[in-house]
């Protein structure tokens, strides 16, 4: 399980996250909702080792203190990040992107099974394996990005606004895939602005505002919370 305690991040003098606590268990989808600039990406990047949080921050994954590890070592502990903007290797083929997902030593033994799993999850990729990743549509690129992350055999999968720029139908497909991933026992931390669809597939949710957690509850409760409806679901008491 991923256990974030007292996470603070600053860019220069600007505090992006203040003493955030958050947990994600295996086999659940946790959504983090917040406006632009609230600090969602910073939280995911701090977990993945792309930015350094303040002293006093503890991020624990299955007994590993992630704040002490560099990004490439964190992957080996079972955490995979699908970053904002996908971060796929556009010049390389889909097959190479997926193979690189299994670069982590923890993933090598099960590379073949994981590839089959990814293809089962995203059958569209099967016929595109030898195509350069950059030549695919936005939705397909997101599949490559998630597939690549799954190839590292993660216990915890972090996704930064995966639905950004996708059609509603594509987004629906994507979220269905996330629900299937949860079934395999992976814990998913999903950052989204699309509150409606993401709460529908999530187990729990956090609300983040100006770098601090302002609320947390089950997804069901959040869906009917008036404050959430006002801020994220466009159902304000107009």
């Amino acid at each position: 399980m991923l256990d974030i305690k007292n996470l603070s991040v600053s860019y220069g003098k600007h505090a992006a996250l203040r003493e955030v606590d958050l947990t994600v268990d295996r086999g659940e989808i946790v959504v983090m909702l917040g406006a632009n600039g609230a600090g969602k990406s910073s939280l995911l990047k701090a977990c993945a080792g792309l930015i350094t949080p303040h002293d006093g921050t503890h991020i624990d994954l299955s007994g590993n203190e992630l704040t002490a590890l560099s990004a490439h070592k964190i992957v080996e502990t079972g955490l995979a990040l699908v970053p904002e903007g996908r971060g796929i290797f556009g010049e390389l083929t889909v097959r190479e992107n997926l193979a690189l997902g299994a670069f982590a030593k923890r993933a090598r033994a099960a590379e073949k099974q994981n590839l089959d799993r990814v293809i089962d999850l995203f059958p569209k990729l099967a016929e595109r394996l030898d195509q350069a990743a950059r030549t695919m549509s936005g939705g397909e690129q997101q599949m490559v990005a998630i597939g690549r992350a799954l190839m590292s055999n993660p216990d915890i999968l972090l996704l930064d606004e995966p639905s950004l720029g996708l059609s509603p139908i594509m987004t629906g497909e994507l979220f269905k895939a996330l629900a299937a991933i949860r079934k395999t026992g992976v814990g998913v931390l999903l950052v989204e602005q699309n509150a409606h669809q993401s709460l529908a597939i999530s187990d729990r949710g956090y609300l983040i505002e100006n770098g601090a957690i302002t609320g947390q509850d089950t997804a069901k409760a959040l869906q009917s919370d008036p404050a959430v409806q006002k801020a994220f679901l466009g159902l304000g008491a107009a």
Partner: protein, 290 residues
């Protein structure tokens, strides 16, 4: 005479391509613009010379020692000279500028040591100097062998980059270093490895060239220039581009030297270079990027 000129050109072009492949690897993956690159080519030429004339080891056997030795040497250069620059660079641009200055200094150190040891004369040695007939041209066997080795080693290099896990990881670092970290690639290690591998390619080029060309301690700069031209002409980071661009330059130089005037080869190099840049600024196989 035409087939002789053509064959010489292909041999020379093959060398350019081989040497350029190493430079493009160092630049593309490690983000080091290595101005001392050609010096390492020449060092290998002199090592091959000493092996052949003083130790009695022929250059082909010498490769078995020189390839791993140059890999280690370049590894050490990266760790000692370049790692501090990588650590303090805030972005790629800064690292490029710093590395240009640092390797410019390295250029003079290597050249100075070579000068003290070997002086300013031209060197060459006899190895497989017997003539061979192919396609109506009479060619020294050493050129044929050098070309053969360039093809095999260049192909091996290409296969390592495209067919192995480590090679694919190196290309991933070249495309997007941040994403590379997210798939468990140690980018610092990969940069060092790519620099060392590129340096080994330089050494291979130096050994093969020394088998059929005369060389001197001041020729390193020429190799750096040619390699840079081939890399830019072919499209930065593009192995196939480097191969084609290398062959074009080699054949053009050889034809001009044979039919017009050997003094014009450098001029022709630049004319072709400029033409390519005017017509396709990102190089023959380069894709325009931001």
């Amino acid at each position: 005479m035409f087939s002789y000129a053509l064959f010489s050109g292909i041999t020379l072009g093959g060398m350019y391509a081989l040497v350029a492949m190493g430079l493009t690897l160092q630049y593309g993956v490690s983000r080091i613009m290595n101005l001392a690159y050609g010096e390492l080519v020449i060092v290998a030429s002199f090592v091959a010379f000493v092996f052949m004339t003083s130790v009695g080891i022929n250059p082909l056997v010498g490769l078995l020692i020189i390839i791993p030795a140059s890999f280690v040497l370049n590894w050490v250069i990266y760790r000692i000279l370049l790692t501090p620059l990588v650590a303090r660079a805030k972005n790629r641009g800064m690292l490029e500028v710093d590395s240009i200055l640092a390797t410019f200094g390295l250029l003079f150190i290597v050249q100075g040591v070579l000068l003290v040891w070997f002086g300013g004369n031209y060197y060459s040695y006899d190895f497989l100097n017997n003539a061979v007939d192919i396609f109506g041209a009479t060619i020294a066997a050493n050129r044929l062998v050098a070309l053969g080795f360039a093809v095999v080693i260049g192909l091996g290099f290409y296969l390592i980059l495209t067919r192995t896990r480590m090679g694919t990881a190196l290309r991933a670092v070249a495309v997007d270093p941040t994403s590379a970290r997210l798939v468990a690639i140690d980018v610092n290690f990969a940069s060092c490895f790519a620099f060392a591998l590129g340096g080994a390619m330089a050494a291979v080029g130096g050994v093969l060239v020394s088998m059929f060309l005369t060389f001197s301690t001041s020729m390193g700069v020429v190799f750096t220039m040619k390699a840079l031209i081939v890399v830019i002409m072919g499209g930065v980071g593009n192995m196939l581009g480097a191969l084609i661009a290398g062959l074009i330059l080699g054949v053009a130089e050889s034809l001009v030297a044979t039919y017009i005037d050997p003094g014009l080869t450098i001029a022709v190099t630049y004319v072709i270079f400029l033409l390519v840049l005017l017509i396709k600024p990102s190089g023959l196989f380069g894709r325009a990027t931001s």
